[in-house]
C-alpha cells in the first residue's frame, strides 16, 4: 500500500468508516445475543464467537490491509493460523478422554 494515489486513500477512508460502523453494530448485537437463551449455552458461545470472528475479519482485512497484502504476509499469516489451531485444538483434544468420562 505504498503507491496509492490520493483518490484511492480517500476511497479507503470511506471504507474505514463503514467498517467502523459495522464493528459498533457487531458489538451491540453480540451483547444483546448473550442475554437471549438459545436453548443451550453452547449455542450462545457459538453465536458470540461467530460475531467476534466476523469483527476480527473486518479489522484484519480492512484496518490491517490484509485484503490486499503481499504474498509473503499471506504465507506468514496462514502458517501462524495453522499452528495456532494446532496449539488450541490438540491441547483440548488431548483432554478429550477425561472430558468425555466426566460425570
Amino acid at each position: 500500500m505504498s503507491h496509492e494515489h490520493a483518490h484511492d486513500i480517500k476511497q479507503a477512508t470511506r471504507k474505514y468508516i463503514y467498517v467502523f460502523l459495522a464493528l459498533l453494530l457487531g458489538t451491540v448485537i453480540t451483547v444483546i445475543a448473550s442475554y437471549i437463551p438459545f436453548g443451550s449455552h453452547a449455542l450462545n458461545i457459538a453465536v458470540a464467537l461467530f460475531i467476534a470472528s466476523c469483527k476480527a475479519f473486518l479489522v484484519a482485512a480492512y484496518f490491517m490491509h490484509l485484503i490486499s497484502e503481499k504474498r509473503m504476509i499471506y504465507g506468514l499469516v496462514a502458517a501462524t493460523g495453522f499452528f495456532f489451531l494446532g496449539l488450541v485444538l490438540l491441547i483440548v483434544f488431548s483432554d478429550a478422554d477425561q472430558l468425555m468420562s466426566r460425570p
Binding site: A48, A56, F63, M64, M72, L76, A79, V88, V92
Partner: protein
Amino acid sequence: MSSAAMEIPYSVEPRPDTGLYNGKVGIWLFLASEVMLFGALFSSYIMLRVGSDAWPVHMLNVPIGTLNTTVLITSSITVVLAWAALKLKEFNKFRLYMGLTVVLALTFAIIKSFEYRSKFVHYAVEYTHNGQVIEATGHIEGSPWNWSLKTLQNPDHPIESIVFHPDAAGHGHPGEGATIHAGEHEAVTIATKDIHKLESFGPWHHTYLAIYFTLTGLHALHVLGGAAVLAWFWITGPAMWRTDPERLTNRVEVTGLFWHFVDLVWIFLFPVLYLL
C-alpha cells in the same frame, strides 16, 4: 568502512521482489508471535473452563465492558485515519487523529483500572451464624481494598467486626455454593472470630478470575505500550515529518498494525470474559 556502506537497505522503500519494507515484515512476524502468546492463553481458558465445576456468566460489568469495547474500536479507526492523513500529506489531521488515539487508549486504561478496583473491594466471606455456616458475597462497609482474614487479625490493628452488605441473590459469585438467605439483603455485622474465610475477588479467588486478570492484564500492558509509542510519534512527528516523511508514514503504519491487533484481541476477550 564509510557509513554510506552501512545504510540498511529497504528500511524505507519496499524491496522489489517481496514488495515490503523491513518494518512491515518485522511487525507481522512480531504479531505472529503475539497470536501464539494469546493463543496459548485462550487454550488455557478453554482447558480451565471445561475442567471447572462452575463458570460464572455475566459476572463482570457488561455496560462498562461494552463502553470500553467501543472506545478501543474507535481508537482503531482514528489510528488508521491518522495514517491515511499522512498519506494525503495532511499533517495537521494526522496530529488530530493521533492525539485522539492516545486519548482513547488512556481512556480505555483508566476505565479498565476502575474495573480492576471493583474486584478488589468485592468479597466472598464464610462465617458461622447461630451455629450455621454461611457463605456470602458482597461489600464491606467503607469499601476497603483487598482485605483478608489476616488483615482483620493483624495484632497491631485488630478489627473486631465488619459490616457486610451482601449482593442481591444471583449476582456475583463464581462457583458453587453462593447461599444467601432470603431477607438478608440488608447489611449484617459479622464478628471477626466467626469468620473462617474472607477473600476479595482477586485472581486467587477462582480460575475464572485468574485467567481474567491474566488475559486483560497482558492486554492492558499492550495498550499502555502501544499508547506510549503512539504518543511518541505524536510528539516527535513534526520534526520527522520535515526530515523524513516517508519513514514517519511507515512507522505510523507499522504501529497502527500493532494497535489494530490489540483491538482484535479485545474483540475476542470481550465476549469470552464478559458475555459467555
